[in-house]
């Protein structure tokens, strides 16, 4: 008797469980948008967060994401999405690109996008070809970074500014290239000799890298070391890496920081008062637009390149420091922006 009661309880609870589990969230018309994130985590206040925010903002899709603890998670995460019937799978980050391409080739009916890479199929000798169902979402962040570099060179009191990256991916170094060249441009125009620590576009191997996108302690150590060397504006390029430094610097007032990807003024919990600007990369907007294309059956594998022109990249307002930036410098930066758009200023040389 007792036994059968127990059994009934088990059966009842099982049906309860499975009943809830299979209850479908039926919302017609919407597409299933799935984000395979990079290793920084969804709360990196930067490009993973930006991508996820864009996906959630998309009104034409139901979005979900999977975080990756290490790069070994990329492939199974994507595979999970394929099995779940995702219609648009977005790989967030340069590192995940090869896995996205592999999956795209195996599943030609599913649409893919990859943030920060062209999403091409490359062989061992780096001969690359486009894949029809993969859209690369890339950004000429050096255009905005160039402006930030010029701004920093104009703002520094010590004559030293600094930058460092998470891992030396091209999507990271492009920020640093633009930043360094912008500063160099300032020197050329003004005859000054502002030094950029941590990065020299001519010698990328000697650049300062944390070695990961998650080791905040090491990033803080690097920031402090740059402060010691006299840098008073620092640009950490690597998602969440710069957060402890921003918090520490807000207290010590030793240096200003520049954030990347999404406007740090709205995402940082500490450090707003020393945030000079953000080199914004509209990842969210780009994902939103791909989702809209897929929903409207207009998807094409043609690469999207974010620039100053299409507002895919920009520099954010100066917020709290607005009053500190001289009006003359502001107008020079605007001129530079127009010059980049017009092609009279080359950011990549």
């Amino acid at each position: 008797m007792k036994k059968s009661l127990k059994l009934m309880a088990v059966v009842a609870s099982l049906t309860l469980i499975t009943g809830v589990a299979v209850a479908p969230a039926s919302q017609a018309a919407k597409i299933k948008l799935c984000l395979a994130l990079d290793t920084g985590g969804v709360d990196d206040h930067s490009f993973n967060a930006g991508a996820w925010a864009g996906a959630q903002a998309s009104t034409v899709s139901n979005a979900e994401y999977l975080p990756a603890a290490t790069s070994a998670d990329f492939a199974p995460n994507i595979k999970k999405f394929v099995d779940k019937g995702c219609e648009l799978i977005v790989g967030v980050g340069y590192a995940i690109s090869p896995e996205i391409v592999k999956s795209a080739k195996a599943n030609p009916k599913i649409k893919y996008a990859v943030v920060d890479d062209a999403g091409q199929d490359c062989d061992a000798n780096y001969n690359c070809t486009a894949v029809a169902n993969v859209k690369g979402l890339t950004f000429k962040t050096d255009e905005a970074a160039f402006m930030a570099g010029y701004l920093s060179a104009g703002m520094t009191k010590t004559g030293k500014i600094a930058t460092y990256g998470g891992i030396g991916y091209p999507t990271v170094t492009i920020f640093m290239d633009g930043f360094a060249r912008g500063a160099a441009y300032y020197n050329k125009q003004k005859g000054t000799s502002v030094k950029v620590l941590g990065w020299d576009p001519a010698n990328p191997k000697a650049g300062t890298m944390v070695g990961s996108f998650s080791d905040q302690n090491k990033a803080l150590t690097i920031s402090k070391a740059f402060e010691q060397q006299g840098a008073d504006i620092i640009l950490p390029v690597g998602g969440v890496l710069g957060a402890p430094y921003a918090a520490a610097s807000e207290k010590s007032k030793k240096s200003l920081t520049i954030w990347v990807d999404t406007d740090g003024y709205y995402s940082l919990s500490a450090g707003k008062s020393i945030l000079l600007t953000t080199i914004v990369k509209e990842i969210g907007a780009s994902i939103k637009s791909v989702a809209a294309d897929v929903a409207a059956k207009k998807f094409s594998g043609k690469a999207y390149v974010g620039t100053l022109v299409n507002k895919g990249v920009s520099i954010a307002p100066f917020h709290d420091l607005n009053a500190k930036v001289p009006a003359k410098l502001k107008s020079e930066i605007l001129k530079i922006k127009l010059g980049i758009i017009a092609g009279t200023i080359k950011v990549d040389a």
């Binding site: 309860l16 469980i17 809830v20 290490t70 999970k80 340069y94 030396g168 170094t173 990328p204 191997k205």
Partner: protein, 390 residues
């Protein structure tokens, strides 16, 4: 037969109960971290119902992600439903090897925290042989795996030699060696010979087709020959420990080093050779990961395989078979956590909480005994005196 069953039950009792408690606590955390559940706090019945539903959903998803998922069979054969199980095995494979590395060290009285570094060297060796050379299928795999294991054996052996010669503590040594290894891989991936053409970020070229471990269930599954290597390694460790004179020395030194020394067993030999074999095992883990699953070397190749290995070995009570099961359980947690996150929104990190709780309970057996003893005392006194006075 009944005797051996009883023995088996006795052996898994503590890990089993630890797991049970860890899952119960994790369930509570899942429930109270769910806003929808908390919203119903004012109506107790609804609250309990929604809490149970949240826990049930999460664990069902965990199961679907780790063992079998009927949803995957749509448009495929029923076998495709076992895809999650194959993922569990793929994740467990390197973990079995690193777990064995730690377990074997435990048996010889050594605490090998260095599986992480040894794994890295195994991966480096296997990766280099895998992409740099062109060898016939089979031989290529063998050479790549052996070179990986050899590198790692040297790496582990250095620790053994230092301890045997100077008496330095292996825990400190292996921790430091882990640091060196993780920075070494950062450096070596920046060198010209390891950079992938066209890339400037630290990722090595993919290993050649001839060096890849054969897939066991077709291209749709990542399940590969590595699991057989891991299982063979488990059998090897079992054989070494129970059937050989070397294993006898290992166990004697592990159980009572002083008595072993007095009876003429060379403790320095045991320490050095144990650490070499442990290194080779963990290195094989790295090799299998590169040759069977990621195909290329990158900075986070080792993930947390070397550290989870300690938990796995503890959970498996440092027995080869136990370690295999513990690694499979961890693989299942990891694979299932993915599905749990994607279908119920319960963060993947909750799996880490479960793992941590398991370790906690394993490390504090007295606590587990205490809790369950109370229960048993109420139920039946005779059971208490038999099983629980440990």
């Amino acid at each position: 037969m009944r005797n051996s069953l009883a023995k088996f039950l006795q052996a898994i009792k503590l890990p089993g109960l630890s797991f049970l408690m860890a899952f119960t606590l994790t369930g509570l955390i899942i429930a109270i971290s769910d806003a929808k559940v908390i919203a119903k706090f004012s109506t107790p019945l609804e609250f309990i119902k929604s809490a149970l539903a949240a826990i049930g959903n999460a664990y069902l998803a965990l199961f679907q992600g780790a063992v079998y998922d009927v949803n995957l069979t749509k448009g495929h054969t029923f076998i495709h439903g076992f895809y999650p199980l194959s993922e569990t095995i793929v994740i467990a494979t390197p973990l079995i090897l690193t777990g064995l590395s730690v377990a074997l060290a435990f048996k010889a009285g050594l605490f090998n925290i260095g599986a992480q570094g040894q794994f890295i060297f195994g991966a480096i060796g296997a990766s280099y042989v895998g992409f740099h050379f062109h060898l016939p299928i089979g031989i290529h795999i063998l050479v790549a795996a052996l070179v990986g294991a050899f590198f790692a054996a040297i790496w582990g052996g250095i620790v053994g030699l230092l301890k045997a010669r100077t008496g330095a503590h292996e825990v400190i040594l292996t921790i430091m060696m882990n640091y060196i290894a993780s920075y070494f891989i950062l450096w070596i991936l920046k060198t010209q010979s390891f950079l992938r053409p066209g890339r400037i970020d630290p990722i090595a070229p993919e290993v050649n087709q001839s060096a890849r471990l054969p897939l066991l269930a077709g291209a749709n599954f990542r399940l590969n020959f590595g699991i057989f290597i891991a299982l063979a390694a488990a059998v090897f460790v079992w054989w070494l420990l129970t059937k050989t004179t070397i294993g006898f020395k290992f166990r004697a030194v592990g159980a009572n080093g002083q008595a072993a020394k007095t009876a003429g067993i060379s403790v320095p030999f045991v320490i050095t050779s144990t650490m070499m074999i442990c290194g080779a095992l963990a290195g094989l883990g790295g090799a299998v990961q590169v040759l069977g699953s990621t195909y290329s070397l990158n900075t986070d190749i080792a993930g947390s395989f070397g550290f989870d290995a300690i938990t796995v070995a503890l959970l498996g009570r440092a027995q080869p078979l136990g370690t295999v099961f513990a690694a499979l359980l961890f693989g299942a947690l990891h694979a299932g956590g993915r599905t749990m996150q994607s279908s119920t929104g319960v963060p993947l990190d909750i799996v880490l909480v479960t793992q941590a709780l398991v370790v906690l309970f394993i490390a504090a057996p007295a606590f587990v005994r205490y809790i369950f003893r109370i229960k048993k005392l109420n139920a039946s006194a005779s059971l208490t005196s038999k099983g629980w006075n440990g």
